[in-house]
């Protein structure tokens, strides 16, 4: 399970880095989104992977899930969600004001 999650985080990060290096705003926004997915998953598994373990103290439980990463990842999700909404609006506005969707505002000469 650990190996699978690591591979997922790695693939998401690689795709995010690749897309955020592209020249158009839409792939860049997608890349930033994938990066935030990767980091949310990464934060989540930093509390270690457990199955069926309670996050708060309960009688008879021998194993606990770490509740803190769940709180952290919730904060991170909310922040990245808001930031994604903002960057989508900004990309639309840049498309309207600059007349194209290139991140530098002008087509690169070929």
């Amino acid at each position: 399970m650990e190996a699978l999650i690591s591979i997922v985080v790695g693939v998401l990060t690689a795709c995010g880095v690749y897309l955020s290096l592209r020249g158009r705003t839409f792939p860049v926004v997608l890349g930033l989104t994938l990066l935030s997915y990767a980091v949310n998953l990464f934060l989540f598994v930093m509390g270690r992977l457990t199955t069926g373990a309670p996050p708060i103290i309960r009688d008879g439980a021998t194993e606990y899930a770490d509740p803190l990463p769940q709180a952290l990842v919730l904060t991170a999700i909310v922040i990245s969600f808001g930031m994604t909404a903002f960057v989508v609006i900004l990309a639309l506005r840049a498309r309207a004001e600059l007349g194209n969707d290139h991140v530098d505002g002008e087509e690169s000469p070929r």
Partner: protein, 505 residues
């Protein structure tokens, strides 16, 4: 508990929320509320500074949860002085915004107050994840402020700024997650203590996380090669926003100083001295690149942006030297350069308006109304920015150069700072003669400058002059603050004992 610690956070937060509710009211009401909150923040920052000036470290446990399980705010000398610098700068910028610079949108004052909330939070927090949250607060407010007023160049620069900072936030979270996964805590004092007992097998991962954090803070501080966003963002935004952003690169420098003195300082066990090989050379490179930008700039606001970058490099040079005297010199220089850069941005805007169509481009322009007064203000501010006597820039640079004398890096620091200082003087003198002496008879002047607009930049210069007059006591305070950083035992003790634990380091 001492509620004074949280006052610099609550004032702008409550004012910001109130301003959202009052968005339909008349502009003077909103401006008065925002101005009053900013002035109250100056008062709270002064009170906090006096309270901690005896060396006491105030710890405020949010929700009364004991550290390290709850989140703490910590006010030591450094945090208090950063809050005061922010408050003084904000009061001067508020003076500009209430004179009508906020008319481009009704949410300007809201964003301004929330930016202050994020800045003060970043300076006062004692928790690494909380630092991330406050970074996001100040960043999202800065995105809104940066884009305020719109325009092609501003939108393009804003897009770069936002995308880069979002990537920076992602890296910050990766670093925080790695540290939590290895050490099981996010309280900075607790992290410092656990790093001292680090298992050798985990050393590589901790170093990777520490260097990732360094990349994030270096991006915020515009350390080369992560500086490319700064000239566009600062050079194209509106003047009060650019003036307020003069403190933003200092947040990155502050975070470097705080995290690396506390967690990776000389006594911190196996991971000590993590960024020492990187910080000083990159800082000197930043000064050099920034100065080339100053020389090549076509507009005064762009020149001011490159000067901010060069001064960020100078500041990090002082922090990179690392001993108490250098950090103290850096803190004095930090206060000076924040005020001087803000004054230059504000003056560039006044000059740009007065020069009509050529705006602040460094070409021959019309003869200016009140030209002698404007030229005098430019001379004062240029003297301060370029570090010539008798203004505070000279004292700051001199202290940094003096503190480098015992270091092995002495020839590099002296060479780079003195040569770039000379080039900066040349560039500012050339800009001044273009702006004031080269008259193009065909060009028509813009609206005559309102002399009241000069109040804010001249007040900032006045703060700089006060910093020279009181240089002795201020430098003693900086030294005391630097001692608290170089030997962080008082900070660790205060935080961990507030949580009922005994320090073992």
């Amino acid at each position: 508990m001492n509620h004074l610690v949280i006052a610099p956070l609550l004032l702008p937060l409550l004012a910001g929320v109130a301003l959202i509710l009052l968005r339909g009211s008349a502009a003077p009401v909103r401006q008065a509320l925002s101005g009053a909150a900013t002035l109250a923040m100056v008062g709270a920052a002064l009170a906090l500074l006096f309270r901690v000036s005896n060396g006491e470290v105030l710890v405020y446990q949010l929700g009364n949860w004991p550290a390290p399980f709850g989140i703490v705010l910590v006010a030591d000398r450094l945090a208090a002085v950063m809050v005061l610098i922010t408050a003084l700068l904000a009061a001067n910028v508020a003076l500009v915004t209430v004179r009508g610079a906020d008319h481009a949108g009704r949410y300007f004052q809201v964003l301004f107050q929330l930016q202050l909330f994020g800045l003060n939070g970043a300076f006062l927090t004692g928790d690494l994840f909380n630092l991330f949250v406050f970074f996001e607060v100040l960043l999202i407010a800065s995105y809104g402020l940066l884009l305020h007023g719109g325009g092609r160049d501003r939108t393009r620069a804003g897009l770069h700024y936002v995308a880069l900072n979002l990537i920076g936030s992602t890296l910050f979270l990766f670093a925080v997650g790695t540290l939590y996964g290895l050490l099981g805590t996010l309280n900075m004092a607790d992290l410092a203590q656990r790093l001292a007992e680090l298992a050798p097998a985990d050393l590589g991962l901790v170093r990777a996380a520490g260097l990732l954090l360094f990349v994030v803070f270096a991006l915020k501080a515009a350390l080369a090669p992560l500086h490319l966003w700064l000239p566009g963002a600062y050079g194209h935004t509106s003047a009060p926003v650019a003036a307020m952003f003069a403190i933003m690169t200092k947040v990155g420098a502050y975070a470097i100083l705080r995290v690396y003195s506390l967690m990776f300082g000389p006594d911190s066990g196996p991971a000590a001295g993590l960024i020492d090989p990187w910080l000083l050379p990159l800082a000197l490179l930043t000064v050099a690149i920034g100065t080339f930008g100053v020389l090549a700039s076509q507009r005064l606001a762009q020149q001011a942006a490159y000067l901010v970058m060069a001064s960020a490099g100078t500041l990090l040079t002082a922090f990179g030297l690392g001993d108490g005297a250098a950090v103290a010199a850096g803190l004095y220089y930090l206060a000076h350069t924040t005020f001087a850069a803000a004054a230059l941005f504000l003056l560039a805007n006044i000059l740009g308006k007065a020069r009509g169509a050529v705006h602040d481009r460094l070409v021959a322009g019309p003869e200016l109304p009140h030209g002698q007064l404007l030229a005098g203000a430019y001379l004062l501010i240029a003297l301060a920015v370029s570090g010539l006597p008798p203004l505070s820039g000279f004292v700051g640079k001199w202290l940094i150069l003096q503190s480098s004398l015992g270091s092995t890096w002495m020839p590099w620091v002296l060479g780079v700072l003195l040569v770039t200082g000379l080039l900066g003087v040349v560039a500012l003198a050339r800009s001044g003669s273009r702006l004031f002496f080269e008259i193009d008879p065909a060009a028509s002047a813009g609206a005559a400058p309102r002399l009241g607009d000069l109040a804010a930049p001249l007040l900032l210069v006045l703060i700089g002059i006060a910093m020279v007059v009181y240089a002795g006591p201020l430098y003693e305070f900086s030294q005391a603050a630097a001692q608290q950083l170089v030997h962080p035992d008082a900070y660790l003790n205060a935080v961990l004992q507030a949580g009922g634990r005994v320090m073992t380091r």
